[in-house]
Assembly symmetry: C2
Homo-oligomer: 680 residues x 2
């Protein structure tokens, strides 16, 4: 077994058994059972030897950790387990302000409790919700808008949906829908209700029912009544409109098979070699990434993701989720389906995580891998003789999709043939909505239907980049393009140069239109350029966290206030907003990225970690409702003076004889055909 | 014939005949023969009626213009021709500071003259270039670095290439190469020579041979000698390395045909309807773009493109090209090849332009159109019952590729199913290089081989957006996301709002990370949001022109100094840097975008034009040589409160039964297969 292999069902069961044996008489509520990766120093040495074929027979200790409560209490424990010897090495009782993340089982329990609670039902009755509408409950991490040291709480937001019989008029489509989908009454989020119950997660007791403001200001009207309005539905059987009839199938074949190979979790493709990892929290991880035998990245992961909402009113002031730390990208991973989530010839990877009882919970098809064509790779036509040199760009896609309540996120690593890695994030799914009185607007949200307001919010991702650009001797630099002064050295006023500033102590660094961030290795000089080898991080300059730095959002997600951060590597520093984000009080001064940066460690010519905050300021469009077309962000890690020349030079010329394209036939594009295109 | 149809061969011949008949006894050197589109007021009315089926039988006058010299002189004439009546309506002799663009025929003539000129050959001999190397000449528009009113000049940059026999060791690949490519000695740009001849374009006489600086400063050493070094070759037959053997074919089929229809140049696809246009200068143009019957854009075009180099030394100070105005995107359009430039089921469009003799010059397959799969369109999983709603995103791609000397540009309009248009620009091809002494570096360029320096430069495109967002009553606004003050209206410090600033007079406007530019129509209110309908322009905030505003680059390409510009529409105002960019002196105060903006026209609730400057600051990487992997920029025009809800809601659910994907077979990804993958 490889030290970086994802946890197995047997290991989960083993850990649960060990913990339960130690905690005799206690009912254990597991929050996580996860592999603890070996210390980096040991691991790097092992991986280097492995790549040169020397690691055979070497075994690194395999270790795990378990986080758990005594069920129904606030006592949180962290256990370390030696998997090789099947012993619990150490158990620590954590300080009371640390809370475990929300888990799917307790969320489902709380939804049921909430939906059946007499006080909730009474509020529903007072609201005047018609009987034909069904209540839906979304549980949200409690967030934080005060310094109060509450027990672990959960805030519930309620919606009502219709019980549509699915009786639309498009019988053919409906019959297909019936066969592959569940019955038609599966829509949700049609009416947000104007009150929000809060529960204690441990005792599952109702704490309060908060009436929500529904006007243009902070005023709360507890007597606001349900006003009927036509819902906007996203499910095809309920849209009340025909589906398009003029979309013809597009099929991707690889008649000779795919271009990658696989050995366990070790992937090889087009000079790339890396290990795929997966865990409950970060979801998909890439380990030990090399290109053409040269080291690039030790570990690439989604460290955190924060979604703060901009509605300034209580209790929306608490609406803020760390989707990675509070929920888990691996926990929320979708079961990807052939021909739906993935098109072409697909390799699926399935994983297991632990459920709250310590049983293995499968995450089937949580990552898919396939190749796509990405247009022109490089081209030049010699205009003197018309000779064309052209290669198309083939890209290896690793995709995982997560559902976090209302939202979906698509995360992809796209590897290209020119040694570029592209981290692609797509946001889709359903907007979180607030109730609003008809005819009212607010400056912090968009009305997307009568009675339905979608508040502005941000998604701030932290991409953790643990580089090894030709080894560990790395430095992050800011490289600025700067106009030369208009003087005798620049007599025509047209010159510009680049100025590099190495970040020699751990710090943050901001993006700018004139700036590129690069990771360089000063111990290896590119023989063409005469400069240190380097990888650049290309990412658009985006608005950072809009919440005030002294607000609880600002204090809990400090990483969201700057685009780039660099730290000296320390084992265990994986999570930008700390290990325990649920209802976090970031006041212990050592547990988050900002605290690590404050150490002012040396970050020059050493083993560094670069953290990139990727921000999407999402002021909803009406077009984002009732389901949102993907909004896409791409961060590219590209060689920049790393190779001596174009690393994709040796991609073969593209040729019709293998690409088997065809011209359209005149008959198939006749204008009359537009209306006659059959749905097939 | 439709008033927007591209010019035909017959029309070109007709215009040339008319002009020649008028200019009896003169040898005519044509610079352009092009359609003059009808006045917008008339055209808009016609197009509106046409869309509602009422324009049948209406004929708009079809007119053309011709720009020409008396061959061998500096007399430039502009003629207006009535094509319906086959008469020259008007001929104007232009002021002497206006110059025609470079054309392929005169460039080829000048290359030959330069390569055979005794003074050039003498300089080559002094340089000591070995006989086995062959001279190559690139002609560059003269640019401008002084106010001198020169005749029309051309600067030549010289390179030497090897006469490789193409004898690589990969016989199989070579035999393929031989059959589809020209003989192997087709590489270029291997050694830049240290002197640059300048010629008069009219007289074709040598003006001077300028010795180039080859050190780290402005010093010129006329006695610098050739130093042999191994070239870096991009042509597959010359690379001296094997091509990759492990890339398997990927084939795109549309078994039921494509989803678009065509009626002349009228394209319909997935609720989109538009007309494809093409001309010598702008290349591909989109006219009269509607979605689901609603007007969006009257005309979308590449208005200009400026490429200034950052080497501050004479004569590189003149190295600056308006690739659209000085050359022509239509002139430079590639003949796109099936299975190479385009993959799948492809519709090709062929056009004609006029050559310098007034004959039709075909531009076959200058635009290709096809569909691609673009991943997830939208998705939501109802976590309560596991029901998945998912549509994949299909995109219609219109692609044109141009070769401008050393560089290639790929221009694409990508239309998606959610009413988004994405203008995608890719830069590829070969870096322009300067000679440099071995062991020397400069701060304004990257050494990419011994003796070869690739100077920093920028590519600044001007995308001309002539909108008709639900009609002509449009306004450009800046919409900023702004944190609320941390006060009693924002007691938790987490609120933010948007603030809109309409640009009511013609002006420029800059990008910022917190800003979105939108085109709104105040006469049409979105019934969900209660706000004016709007399209947003999403584009990363990029570094604008680095040349000093008072430099000649700054004065000639003022549009490059700001991201956005808005003007009131005026017929004939198409070209951001003016109609005559070659060696331009932008001092007439009325001929470019900045001058039009200076009029301070009303731009509120009226017929406006938005100009977006898209900048690529290209500080070359060693990886960009000897041929550059595509560098990609995307600008997206997306509905933002234009529709009442997601316009892609009705895209059918994606299903394996039509998408025909397949899982990989274990056998095809066995690790041993890596080395055994056969090149097929």
């Amino acid at each position: 077994m490889h030290p970086l292999d994802p946890i197995t069902a047997e290991e989960i069961t083993g850990v649960a058994t060990l913990v339960k044996a130690r905690e005799v008489g206690k009912s254990i509520h597991f929050k996580k059972i996860a592999i603890v990766e070996p210390p980096k120093r040991v691991l790097r040495s092992f991986l280097t030897e492995e790549r040169s074929g020397k690691a055979k027979g070497i075994h690194l200790p395999r270790r795990a950790s378990a986080l758990y409560y005594y069920r129904g209490t606030a006592h949180l424990f962290l256990a370390k387990i030696d998997l090789d010897h099947q012993v619990v090495e150490h158990v620590e009782k954590l300080e009371t302000h640390f809370h475990g993340q929300a888990d799917p089982e307790e969320a489902a329990e709380l939804r049921d409790i909430c939906l059946n609670h007499p006080r909730v039902l009474e509020a529903v009755k007072n609201f005047g919700l018609p009987k034909e509408l069904t209540l839906v409950c979304d549980t949200w991490p409690y967030g934080r808008d005060s310094k109060d040291n509450h027990p672990r709480l959960v805030q519930c937001y309620l919606f009502a949906r219709g019980n549509h019989p699915g009786s639309n008029h498009y019988d053919k489509r409906l019959s297909i829908a019936k066969s592959i989908f569940a019955p038609a009454q599966v829509t949700d989020y049609t009416v947000p209700l104007p009150f929000a119950p809060v529960f204690d997660m441990a005792s599952q007791k109702l704490i309060e029912v908060i009436h929500l403001p529904t006007g243009a200001d902070f005023t709360v009207n507890p007597d606001v009544k349900y006003v009927p309005h036509a819902p906007k539905e996203y499910h095809h059987a309920l849209q009340g409109q025909p589906v398009r009839q003029d979309l013809k199938p597009l099929v991707v074949h690889q008649p000779q098979g795919v271009s990658f190979t696989l050995d366990g979790y070790l992937v090889r493709w087009q000079k790339w070699r890396f290990r795929l990892g997966f865990n409950w929290r970060e979801g998909m991880v890439l380990h030990d990434v090399t290109y053409d035998g040269r080291e690039l990245f030790h570990r690439l992961s989604l460290s955190e993701m924060f979604v703060p909402y901009a509605d300034p009113r209580h209790p929306y002031s608490r609406k803020s989720v760390f989707d990675v730390g509070d929920i888990g990208a691996g926990v929320a991973a979708n079961n990807l389906a052939l021909g739906c989530d993935c098109l072409g010839v697909i390799k699926y990877f399935s994983f297991v995580i632990a459920d709250s009882n310590g049983n293995p919970a499968p995450r089937p098809n949580a990552v898919c891998m396939h190749e796509i064509d990405d247009g022109i790779g490089w081209k030049h036509t010699n205009i003197r003789n018309g000779v064309v040199s052209l290669v198309r760009s083939r890209v290896l896609v690793l995709q995982t999709i997560i559902t976090v309540g209302n939202y979906e996120y698509v995360f992809m690593w796209n590897l290209d043939q020119a040694a570029g890695l592209h981290y692609k994030i797509q946001a889709t799914g359903i907007l979180s909505t607030h109730p609003i009185d008809e005819g009212t607007t607010v400056p912090w949200g968009t009305n997307v239907n009568i009675g339905v307001m979608a508040p502005f919010h941000q998604h701030i991702f932290s991409l953790r980049i643990d580089p090894c650009i030709d080894g560990d001797n790395n430095t992050l630099i800011e490289e600025d393009s700067v106009a030369m002064p208009f003087d005798e050295q620049n007599p025509y006023g047209i010159g510009y140069v680049t100025k590099a500033k190495p970040l020699v102590k751990s710090t943050y660094s901001d993006s700018a239109p004139y700036r590129t961030h690069k990771i360089i290795n000063c111990s290896n000089i590119n023989k063409s350029s005469g400069k240190p080898v380097s990888y650049a991080i290309h990412s658009p300059d985006k608005q950072m966290l809009l919440a005030h730095p002294k607000s609880w959002h600002g204090k809990r997600a400090k990483y969201g206030s700057h685009h780039f951060w660099v730290t000296a590597h320390n084992d265990g520093e994986l999570h930008a907003a700390g290990d325990y984000t649920y209802q976090s009080t970031p006041d212990d001064g050592k547990s988050d990225l900002a605290a690590w940066v404050d150490r002012a460690d040396n970050t020059e010519d050493t083993d560094i970690v670069v953290w990139h905050s990727i921000s999407l300021t999402h002021n909803p469009r009406t077009e984002d409702y009732p389901v949102m077309p993907c909004d896409t962000m791409i961060v590219s890690l590209k060689p920049s003076g790393f190779f001596d020349m174009n690393p994709a030079l040796d991609v073969p010329q593209s040729m019709q004889e293998t690409n088997s394209s065809r011209p359209v036939k005149e008959k198939e594009i006749e204008p009359d055909r537009c209306c006659n295109l059959k749905d097939s």
